[in-house]
Symmetry: C2
Subunit: 212 residues, 2 copies
């Protein structure tokens, strides 16, 4: 069997990919503000389940973009999410990508309190005095802690991207976020991941670019 | 609706997750050397398609582990893969996680030759005189370049982890790798990703640990 590669210029690959995703989504009706987010997640996973799984609170994408435009920081639960975020696109808006999971004080607090480091990382973030977007791609315990702090009135993030992946408390942690009265983008069910979290951040960042 | 979280100690979450994955895989017959790799990819994606998609050349996992034990470097196509690899587990074996995608010389070579930076990154790796494992989670052009260099006798990696994700030349690039006579682990079809590439590396690294 002869394997034939398509001749596509490097700078055209992403554009062609999004065209294919659009074709395969067919005439499904997507909210035009949410559509670039959904398509970028499918682009990142090749998994069309996300056309169904992603749940947006009212106006979540616009609110996330407004926060980014005023220089919100993006706080992630893993270094992988941080690595996947387009830092130049974020920094040009005055933002920054932070992840506390490997910090020594976070490890010490987690050990002292018998929590995950992800939980301790949220506690550390709660002390920041900045507009914050949380991008949680791995740790349900991070979402649970966000839920607790928000319900206690101790935190008010601009947006929660709640897309941890997995089998223990993942579904439940995302259901908790769906109960909150703050902006969220959640991948219902077990699926998600660091790549999904980063893709959602980037989809919003790319929409913040000034039009040519 | 009351959302009930399971009470699981932080250090037990992964163990419980793998038990659930094992239960849901049921009595499917997996090669015992490949099984930890397959399960870790499912753990990372919550996508049981990988029980079918992952193709291993004969003895690929063992050969990858042997290479790691002799200090092979892992070269990835994205910073996200590199971020996801357990560096302490790799470094204790004498290895290192490398990614050339953001290097200035790679960007310049890509521009001069009209290729992707991923292609130019493989050319840079080809000059290393070390045992190498490639972990490709994003760029089909990286796999195509590996295929070309290997067919031309210019490179002989210990293992190729070929799991790019996407829509343009992704399926075809992976089919090319399946034709090679060197060890490979490939996710057939469109699915894959940086998270999958890192999970495969980590599954092998964790099996290299001395038994307690």
């Amino acid at each position: 069997m002869k394997i034939e590669l398509q001749q596509v210029l490097p700078e055209e690959i992403e554009k062609r990919s999004f065209e294919i995703i659009g074709e395969e989504l067919g005439n499904r009706c997507l909210n035009p503000v949410e559509e670039p987010v959904i398509k970028r997640v499918i682009h990142t996973t090749a998994d069309f389940d996300y056309a169904e799984n992603l749940i947006f609170s009212d106006g979540a994408v616009m609110k996330g973009m407004e926060a980014l435009k005023k220089g919100a920081v993006i706080i992630s639960d893993t270094q992988m999410v941080r690595a996947g975020i387009n830092k130049p696109a974020l920094e040009v808006l005055g933002g920054e990508a932070l992840c506390f999971i490997a910090d020594e004080d976070v490890a010490a607090a987690a050990k002292a309190n018998g929590t995950t480091r992800a939980t301790a990382g949220i506690d550390k973030a709660a002390k920041l005095n900045k507009p914050m977007i949380f991008a949680i791609g791995n740790a349900p315990t991070a979402l649970v802690r966000l839920y607790e702090l928000i319900r206690e009135g101790k935190m008010k993030p601009e947006l929660i991207i709640g897309v941890p992946v997995g089998f223990v408390n993942v579904v439940e942690s995302k259901e908790l976020i769906l109960e909150l009265k703050i902006p969220f983008i959640v991948a219902k069910g077990r699926k998600g991941g660091s790549n999904v979290a980063a893709a959602i951040c980037n989809a919003m960042l790319y929409q913040c670019r000034p039009r040519a």
